[in-house]
Symmetry: C4
Subunit: 367 residues, 4 copies
């Protein structure tokens, strides 16, 4: 604890940039590493969830992500559910270079209403492709569209907002009672973002299968400048991992997955998130670099189009290869943007681990 | 405490950049947040005071700031009280690009004498518009022009200098006895800058309604380079907040407002200042980005035109929108420069608070 | 120890940039300094080993390095043992400016098989020049080519990989049993990289004459971005030096040399590595600045051409002088890139030391 | 103390950039501040000594510096004592833009021998102007030219080297016995640089009137890169100030002045050096910005022309005004480069001090 001044004390908090993984005395063959990720009744080839952001997840890329072995999540309140054919909008947005103009245009195109029929259609498209189906709503819209989503029979229901809490108080709208809401659903729920031990614990108690840790999207948010709020990810993941342990104890053995959902920009970042205790990573910006990415070189989150207090920006990313190359390689760019799976496999092998669950215990250092 | 060397120990001090607000387990509806600020007999829509700097406050912008719900303060020893019509000077200054030339020209134009009649006229203009009236003088000029100011019947009298102390000793001029001076006035006084617990406490004992914490104007001062002096704002605000508590105890309940007056560059900075214990923020550089700003894209403080030791520079700011957009939005630029009120409202909601007074207790972290 | 969060603690680790050597109360004449380095049966004029990287070590530069008094090491799985005449490849590579293209081309040219006859030939060339002969293999290739290397009768056998451990487990290949392998060899072995006290101790127990500390090549690796792993060199060298002391105790007096093999970019870095306890430094990037360097202004390590997870890049370096000028001066560029020997001599003299072994005890500070 | 690793511990050391002066509860009138500096039998208007560097001190500028009230020191082994008329060389050097070429040319022009008659002549020129006379030699040359210097009857004899110690051992040359040497001289000696409490104490015991703390010339040295050595000035000044106290005690009251001689780039740096305990500052780079500076926009120290291990570079500085403006203003550039005396006066006033001796006790913070 530090004394900020006479009237305030504060703990030190750590971002993933503040830490590094250090090798141990053991190494393992790359062949020995097993990255399979099991959550609820499902199993995935690797512990990556694609972020429900319009610039990376379309029905097509969600399907491709699923085929490659991960869990794609489609944004059910984005352009794909507001427009029958959003492609012209993506094209138009991609041609806007000026940041100010882009923000204004985003605010306009996202002002269109969500069409429930499109929710159904987008999920059916993914379902028909034979891959796991998952869609996301914000807490604000979760109740209104829940029945539509459930009717589409998804494998996972994702509730994702900037700050989701177990205690929300409002005058104008009856707040979502997450515990009751999740209990009533017949489908596993992944919910977040959470940013503290307490919130993680509360969200675990709602019956969620996984909690998202962080705000989502460090690459695109400007929340620190606009709100003064920041999620120091190494600290918050470690706090949520402790909540997972405590909740497992109090619940008599229920294991709720901790999914890191901020600052997952490179394979190195993902490795450090798991080293801090995450079970999986929700990735956005690495996928924005795919040739198939709907954003066509641009990446943005829901914060970017808030009608009165936008706190995210559209960010340009170089395209580096196909979704497959980005996920499973081979890599031809040594900056952590390609072959995320191969890189993670190698981090475990180089430090003597074969399973993510064990790797969560690896030593890290403050650098 | 650190050992700087064998002969010196030092505490760690924190700037607002060193800290971040972290979410709690609660969130609130944006509608629940109440930003109203009451000081002395007056009430404002939001806790922002406009900085008495010529580049942002003219009679017109002070009026507009007041109409929008804040407290505008006009600089009573700036160009508006030295020149009948300062507009040609603003025009000329705006056309100077070279920094060195600008400093010299500022030194020249501010060498003109203050005209007491203009003090009266400027304040009357604001009064006639039906908004709260506040004007500022430096401690050096406070006594000479006090009667003129009082005759204009202001709502607040602001005494603002780089380092205002309760104990000032001088050979050439009898120093301002702040306690007596403020006691004799019939109008609430806001006084600063102060930069320590002791000074804050002393200034509170003078009878001031509010104390300004900081030097004023991190965006434009170069005091660190010139004097080696710096105000670590997170630390100093927290110290002043503790002085407020201690003074309230010793005075039997008098509450003196702590107004952060340095480094208030973005809505995020303002949120962090309140999180450290400030009641309100005096803002300069955000207003320099208004289309109505007299500085026309340039921003400077009184330090910039000191005749022998200038320690501030004229800084260029992009214009982003009207004063109204900057204060109450909607924002179309996600960098903390627009919709300062909406952003602050959102910070409180996202962290589960409804009142600034409560929000002062929120947890922050050293990052 | 820091609390990263509730579920993770971490020690602070230090890079060489984090520390500085501080003068003592003594100084010595430059003439008094003795930099001679003795390892196994050999003696060198200065404690520098040239890194077995294709961009710096060809048979010719290994010979020149040896003639100047150091230990040159040729990479036995690089271009010189894959191609009868690699010069056209070096020429072609030097002409590629684009980083992405360079990585792909490196992956291609290193896909050619290693020719054992060329191993023999390259080592014979060096032997014929009358300088010490040393060649390096990665742990993966050590067994396959060991007999060929031994037949060439080298003075040192270097086993160098990113993370060499005493405990390696693999399904596909029987891992190299370093202890048995080194015991069976008749030639002194230098082995690494190691990155912890435990690994250093284990490698010392294999019978090695020296251990390489670090990953090799901070100038060219992007391991932090790709794998999340970083070697904080000041910490790791100091840990390995302690392992050297402990192993000397447990072995009844066997002294295993600690050779710093990462981040040796300037003469200042080398001095700080020795100050942390290293006996010698393996240097790469300073040699890439020689007019004779095979890389012709480019520098890369084995990480740069990994077929599926490259984690290094080709880096451009300005040529500053001949190998002799770089090693023994005189220097005409005051940036730590020239006269590495003279600079090290001067560091010792300026701080009152005459021998590296004593200098390892000098006080350093965290800056 | 930090554990760098298992085998090394280190203290934290602080540069002047790491700290800031914070205001106190008092302020003083600028008129009350007294900057007079008394050392040995002499008194100066302000506590500044001009650094004996060829780029700033010629006989003419030393005279001007003295007339303005400070102590100018001429370099007695620079171009002015190697060449009857060095002006063509200054002209030629000023026209060289390329750094590499400049270093080589500096090495050549400084290879010319020192002419003792020119030592005499340069000092006489200064003496004839009626200002205090001080000349500097390195420890290497001190004995050889001491008699010549003494014959010129200087007010101060400055012995200035990179690392001057009380214990120097050499084979080739009998080292300078500083204690005996200084005792034998009839003139007050200022000696340094020293970089630790121990060395400061030892140098005080030699009988010196002042000790120079630091290496001299942070603006131009690259010692960190070349030698790995760095002087954290806040720490070292504070250590030397403690040595001053301890020596005063052991000597029964002899006060040896601590003169900061590194990193004195701005008026803010100077203020912080005094705040750490220095009595005066030796300034180089601020004077390189004078219209009269012999370096004509370039600045370099003796490290820049070392024949085999140069560890300094020629640095370009913008010319900002006359020597008088730089020292006593008025300033028209708010970056700490002008009106050094006025700025220091203001720092003391703003923090409630009237004397440097008192100001040495001011509180500083680690920022």
């Amino acid at each position: 604890m530090y004394d900020i001044g006479r009237g305030k004390r504060a703990a030190r908090a750590f971002s993933l940039d503040d830490i590094a993984i250090v090798p141990t005395r053991r190494t393992r063959g790359i062949d020995q590493v097993n990255l399979k990720w099991r959550i609820d009744a499902m199993s995935f080839e690797f512990p990556f969830v694609a972020a429900p952001m319009d610039s990376v997840m379309s029905p097509d890329t969600a399907i491709e992500f699923g085929r490659l072995g991960g869990l794609g999540v489609i944004n059910l309140e984005g352009l794909w559910t507001r427009y029958e054919d959003p492609q012209p909008i993506f094209t138009e947005l991609a041609e806007i270079q000026d940041a100010h103009t882009a923000t204004k245009r985003l605010q306009q195109v996202y002002a269109a209403p969500i069409n429930p029929e499109l929710i159904t259609e987008r999920m059916r498209t993914i379902r028909d492709a034979g891959v796991p189906v998952a869609g996301s709503l914000s807490p604000q819209n979760a109740r209104e569209f829940a029945s539509v989503v459930l009717a589409a029979n998804p494998d996972f229901f994702v509730i994702r907002g900037m700050a989701v809490s177990a205690e929300h108080v409002s005058n104008v709208a009856e707040p979502l009672n997450l515990k009751k809401f999740i209990y009533d659903l017949d489908v596993p729920v992944i919910v977040g973002g959470c940013a503290s031990y307490q919130t993680a614990l509360h969200l675990m108690r709602t019956g969620a299968a996984g909690v998202l840790v962080g705000f989502g999207g460090a690459a695109t948010t400007t929340t620190m400048k606009v709100l003064g709020i920041q999620i120091p990810m190494a600290t918050v993941i470690s706090d949520a991992a402790e909540a997972r342990r405590d909740y497992m104890d109090e619940s008599g053995g229920r294991y709720v997955h901790v999914i890191a959902d901020t600052a997952m920009g490179t394979s190195g970042d993902i490795a450090k998130a798991l080293a801090c205790g995450a079970d999986a990573a929700m990735i956005g910006s690495p996928l924005a670099r795919a040739t198939e990415a709907p954003g066509r070189g641009w990446h943005w989150g829901a914060e970017a189009w808030h009608e009165s207090v936008p706190r995210g920006e559209r960010v340009a990313f170089d395209t580096v290869g196909t979704l497959q190359q980005i996920l499973t390689g081979p890599s031809t760019i040594p900056d952590g943007s390609m072959n995320l799976v191969g890189a993670l496999r190698r981090t475990l092998a180089s430090t003597g681990y074969t399973e993510v669950k064990e790797f969560q215990r690896i030593e890290v250092v403050v650098r």
